[in-house]
């Protein structure tokens, strides 16, 4: 067993733990913080299922972004949909018996990888060229894009240019899931690819990637328009009612 394999295995365990615990903690914080007033952005759905559908449209189609800016929307969809396909393609590394749907999706996963990188480069280009977006961009915004581009490009590189020992990679990840560390191939592109993924997992709960849980907790999007029918008292605000004269 090479030291490198052990290091990468431990990194993956640590990163997975940090990401999951960090996200759970953050989501718990969001869920337990009260919303003292009804603030859905109007016009808003009148029913709970309507509000859920509104959030679904936001998550699945980036509805508001579509209204806002067609270029950002195109690049964002390319990136996110591409990433989703690429991730789906990667599921095979975690399954001894690969599901039929994952087998079918394999070629699309490659297009996904290409779309993802194209989308990222588009977003990055706007960040540099478009004056307003350049103004609001900080170092972390560029670094986050760089990290994602590294992940995408190093992955595509393994597909199209320098193949890695994919059978051994799969053995490594299946081993990880069974707490039985296996040998990891040591070629550079793979180590860069996996190292960047580890880094992404670690920064996930501490960065703007919190937009992933955040979109589900946004009161302007997920609240139902029913303020005249129901009171919406926050626990901290309720005692104030005792002070009023009538």
């Amino acid at each position: 067993m090479s030291t490198l394999s052990v290091i990468y295995a431990l990194l993956f365990y640590a990163a997975a733990a940090l990401m999951v615990l960090g996200l759970v903690f953050r989501i718990k914080t969001y869920a337990s913080t009260p919303t003292p007033l009804k603030i859905p952005l109007m016009p808003a759905p009148l029913t709970k299922s309507g509000a859920a559908f509104r959030v679904f449209k936001e998550v699945a189609f980036f509805e508001s972004l579509f209204k806002s800016n067609r270029w950002i929307w195109i690049f964002a969809v390319l990136f996110h949909a591409g990433l989703a396909l690429a991730l789906a393609r990667h599921v095979r590394y975690f399954q001894a018996d690969v599901w039929m749907v994952i087998k079918l999706i394999q070629p699309f996963g490659i297009y996904g990888g290409l779309a993802m990188v194209a989308g990222l480069l588009g977003l990055w280009g706007r960040r540099i060229v478009q004056e307003r977006i350049r103004y609001i961009s900080g170092p972390s915004d560029h670094l986050m894009l760089a990290l994602l581009v590294v992940i995408g490009v190093s992955g595509l590189n393994m597909k199209f240019l320098a193949h890695t020992d994919i059978v051994q990679v799969k053995a490594f990840f299946l081993g990880l899931m069974r707490f039985n560390i296996q040998e990891l191939p040591t070629d550079g592109p793979l180590l860069i690819h996996l190292g960047a993924v580890v880094l992404l997992m670690i920064v996930f709960p501490f960065s703007k990637l919190l937009h992933v849980p955040g979109v589900f907790f946004s009161p302007s999007r997920n609240q139902v328009d029913d303020a005249r029918d129901k009171r919406h008292l926050a626990p901290w605000a309720a005692p104030m009612d005792a002070d009023r004269e009538a």
């Binding site: 969001y30 913080t33 009260p34 919303t35 003292p36 007033l37 009804k38 603030i39 952005l41 109007m42 016009p43 759905p45 009148l46 936001e58 980036f62 508001s64 972004l65 209204k67 806002s68 800016n69 950002i72 964002a76 977003l123 960040r127 478009q130 004056e131 307003r132 977006i133 103004y135 609001i136 961009s137 900080g138 170092p139 972390s140 915004d141 920064v203 501490f206 960065s207 703007k208 919190l210 937009h211 955040g214 979109v215 907790f217 946004s218 009161p219 302007s220 999007r221 328009d225 303020a227 005249r228 009171r231 919406h232 926050a234 901290w236 605000a237 104030m240 009023r244 004269e245 009538a246």
Partner: protein, 498 residues
């Protein structure tokens, strides 16, 4: 103010976005509240010792009380979707008036003290400590946000800058840096009952004068009752309706509607103000106090319904918050929503034949309608989604034969703020108000040129005051702005149902 020198922006031919002009509005800030404005609200009179720490502590307090604040501070990815959506950015080009940049003024402090990344690597994520420079930027630029929520329409996470600027103003009030305009007015509401400090005798006198005016003009005895116990309807309306043009014509319109429909109504001298300025300063406690004046008035007068007059921010607090702040309304008639908007009442009466309108009375006008931001994006009318867009237009069309909408990108949920909302309707911010009105003025110019529009109808006291003041800067007559109920009042056939 006379000493404010600035150029009215030119209407842009193709509505292209302005180039960034750094610090172009860095000189703009409202008068700072004096101790006598802050203290009645329970805020420190002036900048406290250790204000840097106290600001951080107050931010921590708000983060625990308001999910929206925490989620919005975390979620922004700096995609840029909002950067060209704020009327103040479009009118000034100052990059700190881009919604995301405005949020970042607060987000930098949040990141420094409440996120791991900001504690470890502040430079990487734009985290900063509180200092005088930050406080100055807050005071300037959180008073260049009218809390109109337009940015939130376009944000993929629904981030609402209004929530952020309310929080920032609340924090500033808690360290002794209040805005004179809002805090002075709130103190008046607590003592007298309305924003103007108009006491009961003066109000009674004004209403009597209106009765005489209507009798003279229409030869009908339309009443403007005050503090009438046992009335069915308590009307709560912005105090500007009592005297300012064109607001007062709207009030006359409401009275005529009630008169013809045979609705027994009253105003209250205790709650003679619909607007709740506490929303502007982001203070739940203050908002609760002001809102409960209305509850008390309703109980004291023994009314069965509460109806709000034409007032945008008031309607947000009324529609979205009043039940929470001042409910439950179990002592009122359960057959009516609480509260109701005067337009819901009028609209219902038009449908049921309870009032008769002759649209020809307004044939001298071609109307368009300005959706007030807080009505459009923070409230509703009627029982269907988007009723706040439909009902005012149907009432206008019932009162007037010539109506056209402005550009679809500037109405309904995408409407532009008038430029004076959210506690900015003060003369010390005149330059900001004029420049912020630019996008609305462009859309208006378009329908004036292409459809011969002569009048702009609005349903918000702030919009009406703001437009009458800034429209002359753009070459429009200040008489162009009318109340929707002014149109109703002119079209109503008082004799038809006597």
């Amino acid at each position: 103010m006379a000493d404010q020198k600035f150029e009215t922006p030119a209407l842009r031919e193709f509505r292209e976005n302005p180039a960034i002009q750094k610090d172009s509005m860095a000189h703009s800030q409202p008068f700072i509240a004096k101790p006598e404005h802050n203290e009645p609200l329970g805020f420190p009179g002036e900048l406290v010792d250790n204000w840097e720490e106290k600001a951080v502590a107050k931010l921590g307090d708000l983060l625990e009380k308001n999910r929206a604040l925490r989620v919005y501070l975390d979620s922004c990815v700096k995609c840029g979707a909002c950067t060209d959506k704020c009327h103040y950015f479009l009118g000034t080009g100052d990059p700190k008036n881009m919604p995301v940049a405005r949020q970042d003024l607060l987000r930098s402090l949040y990141r420094r003290h409440f996120t791991l990344a900001g504690k470890i690597a502040p430079g990487l994520v734009g985290a900063k400590d509180m200092d005088k420079e930050m406080l100055d930027d807050w005071y300037k630029y959180f008073h260049q946000c009218s809390q109109c929520r337009r940015c939130s329409v376009f944000c993929p996470y629904g981030i609402d800058t209004a929530e952020i600027s309310m929080a920032a103003r609340d924090i500033m009030d808690h360290i002794g840096v209040g805005q004179k305009y809002s805090n002075e007015i709130l103190a008046k509401v607590h003592v007298i009952g309305n924003n103007l400090g108009l006491p009961e005798p003066a109000l009674a006198d004004t209403l009597e004068g209106l009765e005489e005016d209507v009798l003279e003009d229409d030869e009908v005895e339309v009443k403007f009752p005050l503090d009438q116990h046992g009335a069915d309807v308590l009307l709560v309306t912005p105090s500007a309706d009592f005297f300012a043009e064109p607001h007062v014509d709207g009030l006359i319109g409401y009275a005529k509607v009630f008169h013809q429909a045979g609705i027994n109504w009253t105003l209250s001298s205790q709650a003679s103000e619909a607007a709740n300025f506490a929303m502007f300063i982001g203070s739940y406690e203050q908002m609760h106090k002001v809102a409960n004046r209305i509850r008390k008035a309703a109980l004291d007068l023994g009314v069965k319904r509460i109806v709000f007059g034409e007032c945008g921010h008031a309607w947000r607090v009324a529609y979205s918050f009043l039940n929470t702040l001042a409910g439950p309304w179990d002592f009122l008639d359960p057959n009516y929503p609480v509260p109701q908007h005067i337009l819901e009442v009028t609209h219902g009466l038009i449908k049921s034949g309870g009032i008769v309108l002759d649209a020809e009375a307004n044939d001298d006008k071609v109307l368009t309608f300005h959706d007030s931001c807080n009505v459009a994006r923070a409230s509703r009318m009627g029982d269907m989604e988007g009723g706040q867009f439909i009902i005012p237009r149907e009432v206008i069309k019932a009162s007037c034969n010539n109506y056209v909408d402005m550009d679809p990108q500037t109405i309904h949920e995408k409407t532009f703020c008038c430029g004076g909302g959210g506690g900015l309707l003060t003369d010390d911010l005149m330059e900001l108000r004029v420049k912020g009105a630019l996008p609305r003025m462009e859309a208006l110019q378009d329908v004036v040129d292409n459809h011969g529009v002569t009048h702009l109808a609005a349903i918000c006291a702030i919009c009406k005051s703001q437009f009458s003041k800034v429209m002359p800067y753009y070459g429009f007559s200040m008489d162009m702005i009318v109340s929707v109920h002014q149109l109703v009042g002119e079209a109503i056939q008082l004799g038809a149902k006597e």
